[in-house]
């Protein structure tokens, strides 16, 4: 059973999600090949693969959704692996669906585990992490978009033969997308990665006006307010306050989550906090799966009590 991992990198480093995918591949036991679309000089970092297939081309210097998807699809078609692993990330989303469609392979998204027992099967998390789903892949071959946290990145950094093989660039004629520039985030706001106590609000805070209550609690604690993605998308707090896959990864001493359900995208950015306390009215909210302490109840009743107590 052959595994092919489609790697992703930015500014000279592979993402942790890439190493996690390699770790999932190693866990499956078969030979693990990795495709690197980019500079061959980076291949040495992929010690978790038995073979690193390098496609080096000036057109692939920076990630271009259309170009990288085309290269990966061509390699999948040529190598015919049973299992194709793609990180479920910003880049992976542009890649996975196109590989699935071009190669006629089924795709499993939000995937947390892949198994090869009697047949090929997988587990994934739908509905913002609230439901776990087992699926069979009857054809015996598939593309799996792996959620962060599916394996330890450390297990994917070594253990393979790491043989580097250069392969010809698949046809990239007629690209309609041009990479222009990378933009680093603007600074200037509170650095939530450096704060010891974070009061984190999610959808449960209900309105922009209610954020003032969380601000008052954070002030009483000498901490800062952070939030999950929907709060930023609504324009209630700036991007600099967002915790999660598309935001920042934080490791404060205290992480007080108020009305945060705990979607996989959010958990990815906070699971390493020292003490996680979660408050949610839904006893089944996934946030309780990573929290150290939890209380099921109304955050609007709790906040004033707590603000007075810690003030």
């Amino acid at each position: 059973m052959n595994v092919l991992v489609l790697t992703e990198h930015l500014q000279g480093s592979f993402t942790d999600a890439t190493f996690e995918a390699l770790a999932v591949g190693r866990r499956l036991g078969g030979p693990v090949e990795a495709v690197l679309a980019g500079p061959a000089s980076m291949a040495g970092q992929l010690g978790g693969a038995d073979t690193v297939l390098v496609v080096e081309d000036p057109a692939l210097e920076s990630f271009i959704p259309e170009a990288h998807a085309r290269v990966f699809a061509a390699l999948v078609a040529e190598r015919e692996p049973e299992v194709v692993l793609v990180p479920y990330t910003s880049m992976g989303m542009d890649v996975a669906s196109e590989v699935s469609m071009r190669c006629g392979l089924p795709l499993v998204s939000y995937c947390t585990d892949v198994r090869v027992d009697e047949g090929l099967s997988a587990t994934c998390r739908l509905y913002a992490g609230k439901i776990e789903v087992d699926v069979d892949v009857p054809g015996g071959r598939g593309v799996f978009a792996m959620l962060s946290g599916s394996a330890a990145a450390a297990d994917g950094r070594s253990g393979g033969a790491g043989e580097v093989v250069k392969v010809a660039t698949p046809d990239l004629a007629g690209l309609r997308t041009r990479f222009e520039r990378l933009v680093e985030p603007a600074g200037g706001d509170v650095d939530i990665t450096a704060v010891e106590v974070l009061v984190v609000v999610g959808r449960g805070i209900e309105s922009k006006d209610n954020i003032a209550q969380a601000e008052a609690l954070a002030a009483a604690l000498g901490g800062a307010v952070a939030c999950s993605r929907p709060i930023v998308d609504q324009g209630w707090l700036p991007k600099t306050r967002q915790v999660g896959k598309s935001g920042l990864t934080v490791k404060p001493k205290v992480y007080l989550a108020l009305g945060v359900s705990g979607a996989p995208e959010h958990l990815e950015g906070m699971r390493k906090a020292s003490t996680i306390i979660a408050v949610n009215k839904d006893p089944k909210a996934p946030i309780f799966g990573v929290a150290h302490y939890g209380w099921v109840g109304d955050l609007f009743e709790l906040i004033p009590e707590l603000t007075v107590k810690v003030g």
Partner: protein, 252 residues
């Protein structure tokens, strides 16, 4: 610019979900649906783009539920020129089939851009937006957080992680998976939605749902054990505030 927007409803993310008796689907009898929040952002970005570059927005949606009709009337009220409901009997967990139906629907429309939410919480087998792009052989960018007209094409901002973004210049036509519009989705007065309802502008097209296209078979669903790790605090908010204050003191 001729823009198509694909809209979907998903189970309300704040509701508690129950499983069906067979254990391979949600119990859909009493399920509340809301507009997929990413699709709402796609609509907003499409309207902003139209206001900037001229042209029109056409909204498409799959399904026959009341929420779907309501969603399309709202899109009309917000500024879409037309709204088209594609009736279906689709497996709700088949993004490949959804992409197939949407692809058929937008094919004849000579759209310059197709905008759709980057993801939905029920996309078991891939992102509809990106599957559609692949099916139509169009360039695509997902996790889009901004779109601007640029000399005959579009300049698209894609978000990576930790706030890093990349800018691309893409030719038309293009498919975009929108994460967040440049500004929060606009509100629209109920009176305007009612006006849209009465205008009769909503079109319906019957489509034939393709056979299961995902190539997957759901064998089981379960609600993950979540509280196994957490020590649960009992009592009312006063007791909870006491205990949480104590925990914070100990932890820092």
């Amino acid at each position: 610019m001729n823009i198509a927007v694909l809209l979907r409803v998903v189970p309300d993310p704040v509701e508690e979900l129950e499983l069906s008796s067979g254990g391979t689907d949600l119990d859909r009898d009493f399920l509340g649906f809301v507009v997929n929040e990413f699709d709402e952002h796609a609509l907003e970005e499409a309207l902003l783009l139209k206001e900037e570059a001229g042209g029109s927005v056409t909204a498409f949606a799959l399904g026959t539920a009341d929420e779907v009709t309501q969603m399309l009337h709202t899109a009309l009220a917000k500024g879409a020129a037309s709204a088209i409901k594609l009736g279906d009997g689709l497996d709700p967990l088949d993004a490949h089939a959804q992409a197939e139906l949407f692809a058929e629907a937008v094919k004849g429309g000579s759209f310059d851009a197709v905008l759709c939410g980057v993801q939905a919480s029920d996309e078991l087998d891939g992102q509809v937006a990106m599957l559609l792009a692949a099916r139509l052989g169009l360039p695509h960018v997902s996790v889009v957080v901004g779109v601007r007209p640029a000399d005959g094409g579009l300049r698209v901002t894609k978000e990576y992680w930790a706030g890093i973004t990349a800018e691309f210049r893409v030719d038309l036509p293009v498919v975009l998976g929108v994460q967040a519009a440049r500004q929060p989705p606009r509100y629209v007065a109920v009176a305007k939605i009612r006006e849209a309802q009465q205008s009769g502008a909503l079109q319906e097209i019957d489509v034939t749902a393709p056979m299961s296209a995902s190539g997957l078979r759901v064998t089981a669903m379960r609600i993950p054990e979540t509280a196994e790790g957490a020590e649960m605090i009992t009592g009312d908010e006063i007791a909870a505030a006491d205990r949480i204050a104590e925990l914070i003191r100990e932890a820092r």
